[in-house]
C-alpha cells in the first residue's frame, strides 16, 4: 500500500535527521570542550591556576577510575585512596630504590597495584553492600597505618621526595607538560570506560548493579566480572596516583592514604552521575574547583570538611542519580514529544503498534 509506506518512510527520514542533528550537536559540544581543555594552559592566568587545573584533572582521573566499580556494579568503595596512595608510593619507591626511569616505574607501579588488588578484591567482593564499604574503609586505614609506621622504607610522616622526571624544566613548563600528561591519562581512562560500557562484559556488570541474584541466575559469572572490573579500577586509580607523585614530587602518608581522597572520588562521581561517561569528570570540575577555592579562601580551617560533608549529604538525599540525569530530565520537560507522562490508554498503544500508520499528533498528546 503506497499510502502507508510513504508517510512511514518520511517519518524514518525525520527521525534519522533528528539523530544526525543530535550527533552533530554532540560532536560540536565535544570539540568545544576538548578545545577549551587543551588550550587551558594557554589562557590560564598564572601558574597557580594551571596547577589548580592539574589537581582538578587528577581528581577527574581518579573519579572516573572509581566509576569502573561504582558506576557499573553499584559497589561503593570509599577506600580507593588506598590504590591512589599505593600507586604514588610504588612509583616513588621504584624510582628512588631501584633507580628506574620515571615512567617505567609509573607503569610498573600501576601493574603492581593491579596485582595487589586481586587478593584484596577476592576478599572484599565476597560480601555485598555495607560490608563491602566497611572493608574498603578498612583498607585505607591499614595502608595509612603501615606506611606511617614503616618509616625505614617510606620515610613515615617525614614524607618521601620523588625525583622529578624532567629535571631541567622550569616550573611553568613542568606544569604544562603534566597538564597534557593528565589529559592523556584521562582520555585513556574515559575510553576504557566507554568500551566496557558498550561491551557484553559491561552489560553483565550493569546486571549485577540492578539485581545481583537475578544476574547470577541468568548465567552472568558475577564474581569473576566484579573481580576483573575491580582490578581494572585499581589499575587506573594507581596510574592516577603515580602521575600525581611524579608531578607533585612529595608524598605524605596522611595525605596519600586519606579517607577524604576516597570520599572525594565518590562525591564527584555521584554528583555528576555514575551512569554517565562524563559524570565523574563533570563532578570533578565542580567539586575540585570548589575545593581549591575553599582552600585558597579559608586556608587551614576545617571548613572544606563541612562543605564536603554537606554537599555529599545533599547529593545523596536529593540527587542520587547525579546532575546529568537531573539536567536531562529538565530538558526533557521542554521537549513535547518525550513527555514522561504518556497520556495514552493501553488500547490506543496497542492500536498504534499494530498499525504501521503514523499516529496523529493531536491524539497522541491528548
Amino acid at each position: 500500500m503506497p499510502s502507508v509506506s510513504k508517510p512511514s518512510a518520511s517519518k524514518a527520514d525525520a527521525s534519522r535527521a533528528r539523530v544526525s542533528r543530535t550527533l552533530v550537536a554532540k560532536a560540536l559540544a565535544f570539540a568545544a570542550c576538548a578545545t577549551a581543555l587543551l588550550t587551558f594552559p594557554g589562557w590560564a592566568a598564572n601558574p597557580y591556576i594551571l596547577s589548580a587545573g592539574i589537581v582538578v584533572l587528577s581528581y577527574a582521573v581518579l573519579s572516573t577510575s572509581w566509576n569502573f566499580v561504582g558506576g557499573f556494579t553499584g559497589y561503593i568503595s570509599l577506600g580507593h585512596a588506598a590504590f591512589f596512595g599505593l600507586g604514588a608510593y610504588g612509583t616513588a619507591l621504584l624510582i628512588t630504590r631501584l633507580e628506574m626511569p620515571s615512567f617505567v616505574a609509573w607503569a610498573l607501579a600501576g601493574v603492581g597495584v593491579a596485582l595487589f588488588a586481586v587478593p584484596v578484591g577476592w576478599a572484599a567482593l565476597r560480601v555485598r553492600g555495607a560490608s563491602f564499604v566497611i572493608v574498603s574503609i578498612a583498607l585505607v586505614l591499614i595502608m595509612l597505618l603501615v606506611f606511617q609506621s614503616w618509616s625505614s622504607l617510606t620515610g613515615g610522616s617525614n614524607g618521601l621526595v620523588v625525583p622529578r622526571p624532567f629535571p631541567d624544566m622550569l616550573r611553568p613548563q613542568h606544569h604544562e607538560t603534566f597538564f597534557y600528561l593528565f589529559v592523556a591519562l584521562l582520555a585513556v581512562t574515559l575510553l576504557a570506560w566507554w568500551l566496557i560500557d558498550r561491551s557484553r562484559f559491561g552489560m553483565g556488570l550493569k546486571a549485577i548493579r540492578e539485581d545481583e541474584d537475578k544476574a547470577e541466575a541468568l548465567g552472568v559469572p558475577t564474581y569473576a566480572y566484579k573481580l576483573v572490573v575491580y582490578v581494572v579500577s585499581a589499575f587506573f586509580t594507581a596510574l592516577g596516583g603515580g602521575m600525581y607523585a611524579l608531578w607533585f614530587g612529595d608524598l605524605d602518608p596522611v595525605f596519600q592514604f586519606s579517607i577524604l581522597i576516597g570520599s572525594y572520588m565518590v562525591l564527584m562521581a555521584l554528583l555528576g552521575g555514575v551512569r554517565q561517561l562524563y559524570g565523574p569528570l563533570l563532578g570533578a570540575l565542580i567539586v575540585g574547583t570548589a575545593l581549591e577555592y575553599f582552600k585558597l579562601e579559608f586556608g587551614d580551617t576545617q571548613f572544606h570538611l563541612v562543605a564536603t560533608g554537606l554537599l555529599l549529604a545533599v547529593v545523596v538525599l536529593f540527587m542520587p542519580d547525579g546532575i546529568i540525569p537531573a539536567g536531562m530530565k529538565l530538558v526533557d520537560r521542554f521537549t513535547p514529544e518525550r513527555s514522561s507522562i504518556r497520556e495514552m490508554t493501553a488500547a490506543e498503544l496497542l492500536e498504534r503498534d499494530d498499525d504501521e500508520r503514523p499516529y496523529p499528533r493531536e491524539k497522541a498528546t491528548r
Binding site: I76, G129, L305, T308, G309, L311, L312
Partner: protein, 294 residues
C-alpha cells in the same frame, strides 16, 4: 615478659573490650533496625567527648555529669536523624546510600569540631586522673575502671530494655520482621526512630567515658571507626551478642599484642581479623545468612 605484665594487659584488654562492646552494640542496633551502617557513630563519640570536655572546662563539675545533658540530647538527635534523613532514602539503595549519608555527617561533625575547638589536642585533668589501684602486682588507672563500669552498666541497661520492656519487644519485632510488626499494630516508624536514638545514646555514654582518659582531637574518630567496623563484621552484622564477644576477643587481643608489637602495629589485629573473617566466614561468626547480603 613476666606474668604480671601479661596479667595487666589482659585486664586492660577486658576494660577496653567493654567500651568497644558498648559502641559496637549501638552500631548493631542501627544495622538491625534500618540496615544502616552508621559511619558517623564514632564521630558522635568524639562529639560527646568534646561536649564532656567543654562542660568540665566551663563549669568545673566532673565531666561524668555531662551525661545528663548529652544522653537525652543524643537520643533526640538520633530520633530526628532517623525520621528526617535516613527515612528519606530510597529503599532499594538504602544500605549504600546510608553509608554515604552517615559518612557525610561524620565529615561535617569533624569539620565543625575543628572549627569550634580548633585541632588542638585536648585532655581533661581531674584529681583522680592519675590515681590507680594495685591488684596482684599490676596497676590499673581508676578512670579506666570507671569507663568499664559505665560500659557494663549501659550494656546491662540495654539488655533490660531490649528484653523486658514493651518498647524493647516492639523494637525487636521491628528488627525481625518489619511488615509483620506493622500488622500486629506496632508503629514501626516511631519505634525505628527511638531505636536509632538509643543507638546514638550509647555513643554519648561511650564518648563521655572516653573523655576521662584519652586525649581527644577532631580527627580521632577515624581511629575508632575502623576497629568498630571490624568488630561488627567479625561478630556478624546485626547480632548484639556476636558484636560483644568479638569486641572482647579483639580488645584483649589488641592489648596482649601491644607487648611484643607496640601500639601502632597491634591495631592491625582488627584488620587482620576482618579479612580473615571475610575469607573464612563472610557472614561473620555469629550472624545469620542475613549478614552476607548487606
Amino acid at each position: 615478659m613476666d606474668g604480671a605484665l601479661i596479667f595487666q594487659s589482659l585486664v586492660l584488654g577486658v576494660l577496653l573490650g567493654g567500651l568497644y562492646a558498648l559502641l559496637a552494640a549501638g552500631l548493631t542496633l542501627y544495622f538491625g533496625i534500618m540496615r544502616v551502617v552508621m559511619i558517623a557513630h564514632s564521630a558522635f563519640l568524639i562529639l560527646a567527648a568534646y561536649l564532656a570536655w567543654y562542660f568540665h572546662r566551663e563549669t568545673g563539675i566532673d565531666p561524668l555529669f555531662s551525661l545528663f545533658i548529652t544522653v537525652p540530647l543524643f537520643f533526640g538527635v538520633g530520633v530526628l536523624m532517623q525520621r528526617l534523613l535516613v527515612a528519606r532514602l530510597r529503599p532499594v539503595t538504602l544500605t549504600m546510600m546510608s553509608v554515604l549519608l552517615t559518612f557525610a555527617i561524620a565529615l561535617t561533625i569533624e569539620g565543625l569540631l575543628g572549627f569550634a575547638f580548633s585541632g588542638t589536642q585536648r585532655r581533661i585533668q581531674l584529681d583522680y586522673s592519675g590515681a590507680s589501684l594495685e591488684l596482684f602486682g599490676a596497676r590499673f588507672a581508676v578512670v579506666k575502671l570507671i569507663t568499664f563500669g559505665l560500659a557494663v552498666a549501659s550494656l546491662a541497661a540495654l539488655y533490660v530494655i531490649m528484653k523486658h520492656t514493651r518498647f524493647g519487644q516492639s523494637l525487636r519485632a521491628t528488627i525481625q520482621h518489619r511488615d509483620a510488626a506493622q500488622l500486629v499494630g506496632i508503629k514501626t516508624d516511631r519505634v525505628a526512630g527511638y531505636g536509632f536514638g538509643l543507638g546514638l545514646a550509647t555513643a554519648a555514654i561511650g564518648g563521655t567515658a572516653l573523655s576521662l582518659d584519652a586525649t581527644i582531637y577532631p580527627s580521632l574518630h577515624w581511629h575508632w571507626i575502623g576497629p568498630l567496623m571490624a568488630i561488627i563484621v567479625v561478630g556478624g552484622l546485626g547480632s548484639i551478642p556476636g558484636a560483644a564477644i568479638a569486641a572482647m576477643v579483639l580488645g584483649i587481643g589488641q592489648s596482649l599484642l601491644q607487648i611484643p608489637m607496640g601500639t601502632t602495629w597491634a591495631q592491625t589485629i582488627f584488620y587482620v581479623a576482618l579479612f580473615a573473617t571475610l575469607m573464612l566466614r563472610p557472614q561473620g561468626f555469629f550472624g545469620g545468612r542475613l549478614a552476607q547480603r548487606f
